[in-house]
Amino acid sequence: MADIATRGTRVVAESGDRRRLSDGGPRAGIVLAFLTPFFLPFVLFYLVPIAYAIWQSFLVVRRTGGQYGTSYTTFGGFEQYAEVFQNGEFWASIGRIALFGIVQVPVMLVVALIMALLLDTPLLKLKSFFRVAAFMPYAVPGVIAAIMWSFLYSPQLSPVVDLLKGLGLEPDFLGPGAVLWSAANVSTWLWTGYNMLIMFSALQAIPGELYEAAKLDGASNWAIAWRIKVPIIAPSIILTTVFSIIGTLQLYAEPAVLRQISSNISSTYTPNMLAYAVASGNNYQQAAAISVVIAVITFVLSFGFMRLTSKRAGL
């Protein structure tokens, strides 16, 4: 059943592609006119900076003469990369976000999937309210969300901590062991609604006839959810997973804000924070090398995941 359904969507997608291609040729000028507003900034503010960062990562600083001698940069091959790979802080930060991702991403996506499936059942009342409510956190900028949560974590300010203390508990949301999960909680709060919405819109696109057919075959609501809905929206789930992997590797705002009130987050807590700390010390070349390594790891993980899952799901 799953197979038929996915193959169905694939056929639609392919015919769409073919139409676009056949139209393209004779009207190249129009296409160009429409694409330039996108491609010009894309090249200027995306491709050129990336190329420049890669170039920078192969340079090293040299200096001539005296206490405040004059500096210049020269080609240094893989010297910066060797430094990155020998940097214990770098690997520690990678380990930290790996742990973060392995726990936070599945938790968030499972919650998002359950919420999307609940919103899609005819049983739920006040659907649009729940949909907006779940999506609301995504409308809050990440930095603001983290500041808000830091007030809830702080033992001096938080009503939550006071309440738990009243119950005889001694919570320490900012302690050495807990602070990673406090940051994960902020990310989960921020992004669950967004992921839910992607899954929910995929659910909305499933034709009703499939459910009717399933009902005639005697499938329960549970079986419909598990056997029809989840397999059909598998591409969306994979998409959200890839987004989440990328997001985890680029984790910055949440720990950087919590760092203001917790000394258990170091300046090199995540790879991006490390890159920033190195750049703020004027070592732009090393920071560029760190950025390139993060980008490569991100590519490998997200494309690796896509390949793996698309083979499994037969996409």
């Binding site: 900076p49 405040y68 500096s71 001096q156 910055y252 000394s263 920033y276 750049a279 070592n283 920071a287």
Partner: protein, 446 residues
């Protein structure tokens, strides 16, 4: 370093950080160029416009006063509080640096290493300005009298802020030495189990550096064509050991970050009895703890033994930036900005600056009693502190990196894995490593 600055840091640092990572690639490498040599100091013909970038609240009003009096030397200000050094670094690389810019004392060597300054010693007025400033500030802006690269603007001489009502209530004497301070920490705790004498914020290297400075810990020197790195010294270890003991005995709070809402909340709840601060801290407490008016007094920083030495925490200079075509006019404006009593009074009123100029210490506003502190003449304490600051102390050329390494290691010590003395050796190692990365000749000194 007002409270607003701290608050901006909370959100601003994050946004700026994210943006800077993105902008990394936009920064070009500096082209080889000569060390800032003494340029000529001729007045320009006709009208001149100078750019002056800073982070001081109300500075535009101070400059407006100058502009009214000096139609031929017009100054334009720009507030760069959001990302001070990022903005300046990018402007330098693009060759679009302002004529004058605000630089913190601890960033002067780092900026000079990036070839950010021009030496204005060709201007007689600039050289003569030396006598107008508190000695230690000039030794930093002149890099030990090797030129004139900046004028001192404000300083943060340190002192001890004390909740005198709590000390009176528990019949404890206000400490004069660090030994007495540690003993009082225990007495306060015995009197009230919820009371701590102060807090130790491991994420505040600037504060800790001020304490090192007080104990004569000279972190950097220069000899034999190399920087001598002496971050790890007997004096710095003594300070680290002292605080480690207080932390181990749980006599100081370690869960409060400086100038954050949790810190103010702890003071508000009468859980902390002293605040080790700098001159700019007087308005910080006044504005954030309005209910405690009349309960605070300010006394000299506790001393190591009988030495009256004090330290500095914060403060800034106004530097002459590379490529400045109007040295004569820049010196004129900079002299007025940082030594004229009218300008200093306005900067103190609007920006809370505590002047680096000796004339500034005699300002009416700084010789009167301050109502929040029971009408005590608190600025006398800071003036005295200012005189007792070691003039030989020097910052390093990669200070930011060293501060971060120090903070990360101090945080580990506070959470129980490691000691503060480990943080001293970590900072020493980071100094050597970061200087090596920048190809700056350096060796471990002794």
């Amino acid at each position: 370093m007002s409270n607003t600055v701290m608050r901006i840091r909370l959100a601003g640092a994050v946004v700026a950080g994210a943006v800077s990572v993105a902008l990394l690639a936009a920064c070009s490498s500096p082209a080889p160029s000569g060390e800032a040599s003494a340029a000529s100091c001729q007045p320009a013909q006709g009208k001149v416009t100078l750019q002056y970038w800073n982070t001081v609240p109300g500075m535009d009003q101070v400059v407006a006063l100058w502009n009214k009096k000096n139609p031929n030397i017009q100054v334009e200000t720009k507030n760069i509080a959001n990302d001070q050094y990022g903005t300046l670094g990018n402007a330098l690389k693009a060759g679009k640096a302002p004529e004058l810019a605000q630089i913190g004392y601890d960033q002067l060597p780092s900026m000079r290493t990036q070839d950010a300054f021009v030496d204005v010693s060709a201007c007689a007025d600039a050289v003569a300005a030396k006598s107008k400033f508190v000695p230690w500030t000039w030794s930093q802006t002149s890099f030990g009298d090797t030129g004139v690269f900046a004028f001192p603007q404000d300083t943060g001489p340190m002192a001890l802020f004390v909740r005198k009502d709590l000390f009176e209530k528990h019949k404890i004497e206000i400490p004069k030495t660090w030994d007495e301070y540690a003993a009082d920490a225990q007495k306060l705790r015995d009197a009230d189990p919820d009371l701590s004498i102060t807090f130790f914020d491991p994420n505040n290297a600037e504060f800790f550096n001020g304490l090192l400075w007080q104990n004569n810990a000279r972190m950097y020197g220069y000899s034999g064509d190399k920087w001598q790195v002496t971050v790890d010294s007997e004096q710095s270890r003594q300070v680290a050991d002292y605080w480690q003991k207080l932390i181990d005995a749980k006599l100081v709070r370690t869960d409060l970050a400086h100038a954050t809402p949790p810190m103010y909340a702890a003071y508000e709840k009468n859980q902390v009895a002293t605040y080790i601060g700098a001159a700019w801290g007087y308005s910080m407490l006044r504005d954030n703890l309005p209910d405690q008016a009349g309960k605070w007094t300010i006394v000299p920083l506790p001393t190591w033994g009988t030495s009256a030495a004090s330290g500095d925490w914060g403060g800034s200079t106004v530097a002459f930036m590379k490529g400045n075509p109007h040295l004569y006019e820049s010196v004129k404006f900079n002299t007025w900005l940082n030594t004229d009593p009218e300008a200093l009074a306005l900067e103190n009123k609007l920006g809370g600056l505590y002047p680096a100029a000796t004339a500034g210490l005699a300002l009416p506003a700084l010789s009167e009693g301050v109502p929040y502190y029971g009408n005590e003449k608190i600025f006398d304490v800071f003036a005295e502190s200012s005189k007792n600051i070691d003039t030989s102390f020097a910052w390093g050329p990669t200070q930011k990196t060293v501060n971060l390494a120090l903070q990360d290691a101090m945080a580990k010590a506070v959470s129980g894995s490691g000691k503060l003395t480990d943080a001293i050796s970590a900072a020493q190692a980071a100094a050597l490593k970061s200087m090596q990365d920048q190809a700056i000749p350096a060796a471990a000194g002794n």
